[in-house]
Structures are given as structure tokens and as C-alpha cells.
Amino acid sequence: MELAIAIAVNVVLGIVLLGMFVLLRSRDTARLASSDDALRLFRQRFPDAVGVATVATDGQCALLALKDGIGLLHRHGRRWNSRKLVPGELSGVAVTGGDTITLALADFGWPRAHIRMDDPDARSAWLARLGAFAAASGQAHPAVTRHA
């Protein structure tokens, strides 16, 4: 009896969840409109942040040149994830696909970031800045504990 109910509930739940997945998936159209928009969203996590944001071509990501370091903003589902890069966290910087800066992060929970930048000048400037940050970090050990 219980097994039958368990199976029935899970089948119904599975079907409904799949249906809702299709329904909800098509609604996520948020994009960063401007540098100010990116900074405003970044400040929701880091209220004291001061700096200038460079928004990725697809509006899904931004790099922030902060007064005290480098910030990263990324669309994650319906939320915006923010990160201030800490020394030792940036384990690699590369250009992929000709126009995308790919960051490798020493964090199992946020292992990579892809920032598409069509503007070659902005891309070069950011590559230099990120490269310098990674080099300056040296062998520093990043703190990546999360809690709530």
C-alpha cells in the first residue's frame, strides 16, 4: 500500500516538475543593462563596493574593477552571484573562442567563469589586470568556506 502511494506520488511529482521546468525555463531573460546596473547588483552582496563594471557582451556577467580588488558578477538561474576575488583564488586566466575570458577559480563550488567581451581593448585591459592579480597572489591560500 505504502509502496504504491510512494510510487504514485513520485510519478505525479516527476511529471509535474518536468512540466514546470519547461514552463519556468523560458522566462529567464534578465540581462545586465549597464555598468551601473552591474554595480548596483554587486552592492547587494558587497554594500561598500566602489568601482567600475565592464559588462559582458551577453549581459550575463560582469567584471568589476574595484577600489580594493576585482569583482565578478554572474547570472545564476534567477539570481546574480557576486564574488570578490581573493588572493590565491584565481588559478588561471585564458581567452577561449577568440572573445571570451575564461577564469579558473580554486573553488569547487564556483570552478569557472566565462566572460564574453567583443571589445578587444576592454578584453586586453582585463586580461592584463587579471594576469597581474593572479601573479601578485602567488601561492596565497584562498579562503573559500561558505556558511549561512
Binding site: A6, V12, M20, R45, D107, A148
Partner: protein
């Protein structure tokens, strides 16, 4: 009391409660209630749930073995009657409070429990996002005292199942504040929103399972403030929907910390059992540090506002 039948009834009730998830989802999609679902987040919850059910199913013998062993050596024989059930329910809720509190305050245990807090959404499907490693974090030993006193596994099992059953409905934004007496005595969606928030002032608060009195008695109660909506998730954002990464990321963080060269044993233990965010240099983002920084920022803002008004 027919304990087996009762346990089965609770199990069936738990399964039926799952049907509330699509109902909340549907009402949310039509803006009928305050709730937000993200397709990938919900799918990740289901994925994590599959893993947690698998590990629970394959490893629950550890918990059952520990409890059975303690019960074999029990001091008394506590009968399964209504009033012993009430005692077991309250005692089990107290055990849950301390289990939960330790799970948040020490990193080794947090590495297991963090899974449940990793979603940036707060809805009924958040219930599905449960730990994969609860059987070997060590906290199952907290089940020993009641068994040793003579409360049968069936009695405590029923009490714990009902406790979890109660906690299902509090994972929602759809319910606002309830009558004051209710909010004072029992855990509610409002209290649990605070618990799942990553705002500095809400960190490490409201550990209760059913009775809010434990938080009030042990100083961990924080009320929900209208001017500060909860921001769900972790202090440091998790940028993945991959169930494996969600379930294991903190263990990888611990391993990376432990692999640093030239650490003393005290530092290794600090990284393992210290509060989440602990660092040997004292500069880690622990709850205490985050709260201090948040208070300083609020004071600064107050001074700036006063200065600009003058």
C-alpha cells in the same frame, strides 16, 4: 500503541506532502502566492534529493546500529504510550536543536549540513536538498542518550519523523506572520526564513525544529525584520546546479585547507572543527566577523545620514 502502523502513516503523510511542491510552484507561476521557483534550482534540489535518499538507504544501518546498541544497554524500559510519546517528542526536538546548532557552528558538521542551505531560493522544494553524508559526520551519536535511557527506536523514530513532517511547511515564503502566540511557541516560516538567510544579522540563528523555545532559551533567536528581507543561500555564492558539487563542495574546501604546507596541528583542527570561515590569522569571514563588519557599516551609515541632515 500500534507503533509500526503509526510509522507507516507518517511515512505516507511525508510522501503526500511532496505534492504540495507542484501546487506551490503552480500558484507561484500564476503569481497567486509569494514564492519563487527557478527551474534549474528545483531540478538541482531533486538531484541532491536522489543522492541523499540513496545514501540514507544504503547507510542508515549505521544510525540504526548505533541506536540499537544503545537501546540494548538501556537503563530503563520506557513504554510506548501517549505520555511517553510526548516526552520523547519534546526530548527529540531538543536533540534536534543541538544537532542543528552544532551543524552550523563547526565546519566538519557544517560540511554535511551546508547542502540544505545552498539554494538561493526558499520554497517547499528546498526540503528536498538534504545532506549526503549525515550518516558519517558523527552527529548520529546524539541519538544515543534517549535510546540509552530506554526510549525505543520506534518511539524516537516516530517523534523524529513527526518533527521532520512539521518542518516541511515552514520552507516557504508564501506564509507571512502567524498569530503572536504561535510565533512565540513554534517554528514558523518567518523564523525559518531567517534561518536560511545569509544576511549578516540573520546568520547562525533559529535552529529550532518544532519548538521555538529552545532558541529563546539558548540565545539564538533572531526575529525577521521587515526592513531587511532575507537573502537566501550562503555567504559565499555557490555558482553551480551540479548536485555533486553542491553536496561535496565544503569537503573539498576542507581538503584544500588541510593540504596547505607547514600547518600546525592546532591550525589543522581549527580548519576542521572551528567555526565556518575560520582562519589561523584571525582574518576569516566567520559569523562574528561578518556581524561586526555589518554593525560597523550600519553605524557609519547612521553617522553619515545624521551629518548630511545637519
Amino acid at each position: 500503541m500500534p507503533d509500526a502502523a503509526l510509522l507507516r502513516a507518517v511515512t505516507v503523510a511525508q510522501l503526500l506532502l511532496l505534492l504540495l511542491i507542484p501546487i506551490e510552484m503552480l500558484l507561484a507561476s500564476r503569481s497567486r502566492i509569494r514564492a519563487e521557483y527557478d527551474a534549474r534550482d528545483t531540478l538541482a534540489n531533486v538531484g541532491v534529493s536522489v543522492g541523499s535518499i540513496f545514501f540514507w538507504g544504503t547507510l542508515s544501518w549505521i544510525l540504526l546500529g548505533v541506536v540499537a546498541l544503545a537501546y540494548q544497554h538501556r537503563r530503563w524500559d520506557v513504554p510506548f504510550v501517549w505520555w511517553t510519546f510526548l516526552i520523547a517528542f519534546v526530548a527529540e526536538d531538543l536533540r534536534y536543536y543541538w544537532w542543528h546548532r552544532i551543524s552550523h557552528r563547526s565546519r566538519w558538521f557544517w560540511a554535511s549540513h551546508v547542502v540544505h542551505h545552498s539554494s538561493q531560493h526558499f520554497n517547499l522544494s528546498t526540503n528536498l536538498r538534504q545532506s549526503w553524508t549525515s550518516q558519517f559526520s558523527g552527529l548520529i551519536l546524539m541519538n544515543v542518550p534517549l535510546a540509552y535511557l530506554g526510549f525505543s527506536p520506534a518511539l524516537t523514530g516516530l517523534a523524529f519523523s513527526l518533527n521532520l513532517l512539521y518542518q516541511f511547511w515552514i520552507h516557504t515564503e508564501a506564509v507571512g506572520r502567524l498569530p503572536r502566540w504561535f510565533e512565540w511557541l513554534l517554528n514558523t516560516p518567518s523564523h525559518h526564513r531567517v534561518h536560511h538567510a545569509s544576511n549578516a544579522r540573520y546568520l547562525d540563528a533559529n535552529y529550532a525544529g518544532v519548538f521555538m523555545i529552545w532558541d529563546r532559551a539558548f540565545g539564538s533567536f533572531v526575529p525577521e525584520q521587515d526592513e531587511e528581507p532575507a537573502r537566501y543561500g550562503l555567504v559565499r555564492d555557490l555558482d553551480t546546479f551540479n548536485p555533486l558539487r553542491i553536496a561535496l563542495h565544503e569537503y573539498v574546501g576542507i581538503a584544500r585547507d588541510q593540504l596547505q604546507p607547514r600547518l600546525s596541528w592546532a591550525e589543522r583542527l581549527g580548519y576542521l572543527f572551528g567555526p565556518p570561515g575560520w582562519r589561523p590569522d584571525g582574518l576569516g569571514h566567520t559569523t562574528a566577523a561578518l556581524r561586526a563588519a555589518d554593525s560597523a557599516r550600519r553605524e557609519r551609515q547612521t553617522v553619515e545620514r545624521a551629518a548630511s541632515a545637519a
